[in-house]
């Protein structure tokens, strides 16, 4: 190890001897109109061809040769800005780009040259412009559904917002919003994501070759940055759709210094559904009882941004979102006994409430033009609550005018959740043109409450049962990392990183040293090959019984008996662009192994057969393996833009106690997954888009035989299931259409969006169940497939001023 270190240091410094005279240009890329930072903007030196991209704080640094050169800055939806510079010293310069979204001419959705040059494999930045043009379910722009159209990223079931990356589970995705983790990223049982587009600035997804900065998940990092408020003037925008509406207000508290943004989205499905419920209540005979229900969700985003000085910026971001379902069933009856009359009244209130609260405080500090620090204090809470309160009152009135009363009570409450508080330091140090060091650390304290049950029941004479059950845990997670972006030659660059984490739960410690590396070799100006390797460790698990996005999935920590899950992933890729970067193609091959996965034991679920700990209800030491080829073809420029993504993959699992220990296909193993996304700009006001997706059917386990267990105590029927997940549901495919009509008005801009989800009304499988049927007095069992969304046309109106 010592020798290796010496060689490494020698290698590091030798290269500097040959460095030419260079000067550094650094600064922020800003929106000219609002003064907000632009993340993922491209900055290219026209002389040397060197390029850089603004980081998550909108900051860039680029080395240029001494002398005169043009530095070009571009960003999707904005006009390019060019800096003419005669470089003699290091320079700080902030680019300010102007929006060109209503230009008549061709549009450019990305400068893919930097994808060729980038060291990162399996990393895709998706712009809001691109997402906005994709037709969406019920017209709601949905970030998670949009990234499901990328190769290697799959949806679970129809409509579900959870996503599955390269054969991994939904828990293996680290979803960050302004640096804070979000544990439940969906609303409405998984059909909509929690991200309100008006509060989002940038979206980046990393599927492999993970930077050393990130850890704690095996399969992907979805890094979403919230928007900062307009620094120049007050702005309003909003939208009205079929099931929800949103409003966003932003502006400067102090011009060019302090800004604020507040956005709110709320569904009005509770209002829309009232007539449906009324119709249902009128149409069905509920007898002596009555029932009512209500559901809504909301998102609230708030962000305060303040430039303290030229080298210090602070921001405070807050998000709160929640789903609320409530129901009420009442029953009122009476009757006549032999010598008495009786009256009964009972009511049952049901409630399901789940949601996230997150906030982060960030401080960006420039120590010098070479050293940049981003400090974050984060808080994240996810909770799920299920309440049932049933009461009843019975009265008997006897003929002798005496009476008796008795009542009953059933008060049940189930809660589960996770709460994090942590701090993180990220340093970027431009050591030299050929070395950029990224390093830092983080500590997070988790508070897991996998299941808290409180039950009180009283059936008359006295309180029968008071029961509480809880198994809270408070583990801590610490990590440090170091990463060197090293340009070995003009063509060959590497990224070498180490991520070291310590996780403790009570007295149990888990150490993990996770090496990461990426290599990129430029074959020529327009093509490169890349190789990356990453080991990851995840200290939390998600126990899930279903894939419907039900909030009853519970987050649980690694413990003494349940070790963290681990993975190793190898990726190699080839990127090429042609026709002056008008087209880009990439192919990536990946192989991922996963160890120490957990799942519910066969027959177990969240409650178990009794009030034992969740640790007694899981199968440990599961293995997973995923491999695949991802093809990506993208047209970046012109009136017609879009991409085709195709994935050929295989994902398996193996647990000792599941499927008799034999390996089986992962539930969301999808051998073929194809997405075609296109957008055509008809004129400066109208653009249309088409999206077609195809995926192999999900793997499910079906019963093959039914048999009886007969004894003197009775006869019970059981099913014999075939190999686990050996049956594939029908393939999923769907065509969506969207049309955007924008018009500038005196007061601002309005946009009408018309979209058709599932244009040819494909009945895609949601789930399958079996039902006894009869035909000509012959009983038989029929399999029934339930589909969710038929053709759905929607209209949405948006405005901004």
């Amino acid at each position: 190890m010592n020798s290796f270190f010496k060689i490494f240091v020698l290698f590091l410094f030798t290269n500097s001897c040959f460095a030419q005279q260079l000067h550094k240009i650094s600064g922020y890329v800003l929106d000219f109109e609002s003064g907000t930072t632009l993340i993922g903007a491209n900055i290219v030196d026209s002389n040397s061809g060197r390029g850089a991209t603004t980081n998550i704080d909108g900051y860039y640094s680029l080395y240029v040769d001494e002398g005169t050169t043009f530095v070009v800055c571009s960003f999707i939806g904005y006009s390019m800005d060019t800096l003419f510079i005669s470089a003699k010293n290091d320079v700080e310069y902030n680019f300010e780009l102007k929006i060109n979204s209503l230009d008549i001419g061709e549009i450019t959705v990305n400068d893919e040259r930097l994808n060729i040059e980038s060291l990162r494999t399996s990393t895709i930045s998706v712009s809001k412009e691109e997402i906005r043009e994709i037709p969406q379910l019920l017209g709601e722009m949905d970030i998670i559904k949009a990234i499901q159209l990328l190769p290697g990223i799959q949806s679970g079931n129809e409509g579900a917002s959870g996503f599955y990356v390269r054969g991994g589970g939904p828990d293996q995705n680290l979803i960050l919003f302004d640096g804070a983790p979000i544990y439940n990223s969906s609303h409405l049982l998984g059909f909509f994501s929690t991200f309100n587009e008006s509060a989002v600035n940038s979206i980046q997804i990393i599927k492999g070759g993970f930077p050393a900065e990130f850890g704690g998940r095996l399969s992907s990092i979805l890094n979403i940055t919230g928007r900062e408020g307009n620094m120049k003037k007050w702005k309003f925008n909003g939208g009205i759709g079929v099931i929800s509406g949103s409003l966003c207000v932003e502006g400067p508290l102090k011009k060019d210094t302090t800004s604020v943004i507040l956005s709110l989205r709320r569904t009005w499905i509770d209002q829309v559904s009232k007539p449906i419920i009324k119709l249902a209540r009128n149409s069905f005979d509920f007898g002596d009882s009555d029932a009512d229900g209500n559901y809504y969700f909301y998102d609230l985003n708030f962000k305060l941004f303040h430039k303290v000085s030229a080298s210090d910026q602070i921001s405070f971001s807050f998000y709160s979102g929640s789903d609320n379902f409530s129901g009420l069933v009442t029953e009122e009856t009476n009757g006549v006994g032999s010598d008495y009359n009786w009256y009964y009244y009972g009511s049952s209130n049901y409630g399901l409430i789940w949601g996230n609260i997150i906030s982060s405080f960030r401080w960006r500090h420039l120590f010098s033009d070479r050293l940049f620090l981003n400090t974050s204090i984060i808080y994240s809470k996810y909770s799920f609550e299920n309440k049932i309160l049933s009461t009843s009152q019975t009265t008997e009135e006897y003929l002798d005018l005496t009476s008796s009363n008795w009542s009953s009570l059933y008060d049940y409450s189930y809660e589960s959740g996770i709460e994090d508080i942590g701090v993180k330091f990220n340093f970027i140090y431009d050591f030299r043109i050929d070395h950029q060091f990224n390093f830092g650390g983080s500590y997070t304290k988790h508070h897991f409450s996998p299941s808290f049950i409180d039950l009180t029941s009283d059936w008359g004479e006295n309180t029968d049962t008071i029961m509480t059950f809880s198994n809270q845990k408070t583990p801590g997670e610490f990590f440090i990392y170091f990463e060197d972006q090293y340009s070995i030659s003009d063509r060959l660059s590497s990224n070498l990183g180490l991520h070291y984490s310590i996780y403790h739960e009570n007295s149990k410690l888990y150490h993990s040293l996770q090496p990461r590396f990426s290599l990129r070799y430029l074959l020529n100006e327009n093509s490169s090959i890349k190789l990356s390797y990453a080991t990851m460790q995840q200290n939390i698990h998600l126990l899930t019984n279903s894939s419907y996005g039900l909030p009853n999935d519970i987050w649980v920590p690694a413990t003494r008996d349940v070790p963290p899950q681990r993975s190793q992933q190898l990726v190699c890729g080839y990127n090429v662009s042609f026709n002056e970067n008008k087209y880009e193609t990439s192919i990536e091959l990946y192989y991922k192994r996963m160890q120490d996965l957990i799942t519910y034991s066969e027959g177990s679920n969240i409650l178990g057969t009794n009030f034992t700990s969740w640790e007694d209800r899981v199968d440990l030491s599961g293995l997973g393996e995923a491999q695949g080829i991802e093809l990506f073809f993208k047209k970046n420029k012109g009136l017609l833009t879009g991409w085709i993504g195709y994935t050929l993959s295989k994902s398996i699992r193996q647990f000792k106690g599941i499927n008799l220990g034999r390996e089986y296909p992962y539930k969301f193993d999808r051998p073929h997954d194809l997405s075609i996304v296109s957008s055509y700009k008809i004129n400066k006001a109208i653009d249309i888009s088409l999206t077609w997706v195809y995926g192999s059917g999900n793997s499910i386990t079906l019963p093959r035989q039914q048999y009886l267990i007969v004894s003197q105590y009775g006869i019970q029927e059981y099913y014999e299931y075939g190999e686990k997940n050996s049956y594939r549901m029908q393939p999923y495919h769907r065509l969506d259409f969207g049309l955007n009509y924008k018009k500038l008005k005196d007061w601002g801009e309005k946009t009408w969006t018309f979209s058709i989800y599932n244009v040819y009304n494909r009945r895609n499988p949601f789930f399958i169940y079996f039902q006894d049927s009869a035909n000509n007095n012959i009983d038989f069992i029929k399999a029934k497939q339930v589909s969710l969304f038929p053709i759905i046309p929607t209209l949405r109106y948006a405005f901004k001023f």
């Binding site: 049982l189 559904s273 449906i276 419920i277 069905f284 009882s289 029932a291 009512d292 229900g293 559901y295 379902f325 129901g327 069933v329 049901y350 049950i453 509480t468 809880s470 019984n545 279903s546 039900l550 009853n552 066969e602 027959g603 177990s604 679920n605 969240i606 057969t609 009794n610 009030f611 034992t612 007694d616 599941i658 008799l660 386990t701 079906l702 019963p703 035989q705 039914q706 048999y707 009886l708 267990i709 007969v710 004894s711 003197q712 019970q716 059981y718 099913y719 014999e720 299931y721 075939g722 006894d772 012959i778 038989f780 069992i781 029929k782 399999a783 029934k784 339930v786 589909s787 969710l788």
Partner: protein, 322 residues
């Protein structure tokens, strides 16, 4: 709840459903066996028996089971049980006949012995032959110590704590042992036998078969446990016994030793029963444990050791083997 579910679905789903032609691989129908071998009992359909039925495709109607009268059992199978040695050599063989009293197969000459291995073979026309092997475990050895009678056996309305005692098991170190504990009260005059509930607090009772509370206490009438935590030692369990309402003259403890296969079968059956019909907390499919080659069900051995407590107002009183 159904109404609420209806409302719930109205709110969330604009679903449609269609009949689906599913190509489930066609498996040949097999035999399903339910057979218990109780040590020192006779095959008369009460505690030792063999029931034979058939399986059908998952999509077939119940009408396609084979029926005898209206009971879904097969009456024309050839059922044989062999007593074997460790090398699986036959030491004795018994042919069982169909008994219309219990709709099962019996042979009163067959009395399973403890610590003995048996092999079951069943042939029935149209089905693959099946066989199964299991060992009847040795009768468990235990003692009752520190016994205290706290309540009244013969008071009808009394339903409180009846007694407390230590059950001391002398576990065999050379075998994996699986136990089941029950306590019964008996009224000899009218032959009424009722199960008593009892409570015990011990880590051995923390398993998926038992209903334990949040503090790990078991309370119920029939608990399963293994010797995993006390293998080969003398293990004491403190038992608190509760009496059901009624008049009784004595009670007895039934401690059973089960074969591993029978224990696993009971465990998976319990899990299946506990998780079915639960729409919100749905579980993955459960594979019922079976030791039947080419078929389904269980051929399980067990033995039991009973001790009765006779109150002091009887001539022969105290703890007696039962």
């Amino acid at each position: 709840m159904k109404k609420l579910t209806f409302i719930f679905l109205c709110l969330f789903f604009i679903s449609c459903e269609e009949n689906l032609n599913i190509d489930i691989p066609i498996d040949k129908s097999r035999l399903s066996i339910t057979s218990n071998l109780l040590a020192d009992d006779y095959f008369n359909g009460q505690y030792s028996y063999v029931y034979v039925s058939n399986s059908i495709s998952a999509l077939e109607s119940d009408d396609n089971f084979d029926y005898t009268d209206s009971i879904p059992v097969i009456n024309n199978a050839t059922v044989s049980i062999y007593e074997t040695n460790e090398l699986q050599e036959n030491l004795a063989s018994y042919v069982l006949e169909f008994d219309y009293d219990c709709y099962c197969y019996n042979n009163p000459d067959l009395s399973p012995k403890q610590n003995t291995t048996y092999r079951l073979e069943v042939e029935a026309y149209g089905y693959p032959d099946i066989y199964a092997i299991d060992k009847v475990p040795a009768k468990p050895s235990y003692e009752i110590t520190d016994f205290e009678l706290l309540g009244y056996l013969d008071k009808k309305s009394y339903d409180g704590e009846l007694s407390q005692f230590n059950l001391v098991i002398n576990d065999d170190p050379f075998t994996e042992n699986y136990y089941q504990l029950k306590i019964f009260v008996v009224n000899t005059s009218n032959a009424k036998v009722r199960t008593c509930s009892y409570s015990v607090s011990d880590a051995s009772f923390l398993n998926p078969l038992n209903d334990t509370d949040s503090e790990g206490n078991y309370s119920g009438g029939s608990a399963y446990f293994t010797d995993e935590l006390f293998n080969g030692t003398s293990k004491s369990f403190f038992i608190q016994q509760f009496k059901p309402q009624g008049i009784f003259d004595h009670f007895f403890i039934e401690l059973r030793a089960l074969s591993r296969d029978l224990y696993e079968f009971n465990k998976t059956r319990r899990e299946e029963s506990a998780t079915s019909n639960n729409p919100l907390f749905v579980s993955e499919p459960i594979f019922l444990h079976s030791n039947i080659e080419n078929g389904y069900g269980i051929f399980g051995g067990k033995s039991e050791s009973n001790k009765a407590y006779i109150p002091t107002y009887f001539p022969n009183n105290g703890w007696l083997s039962y």
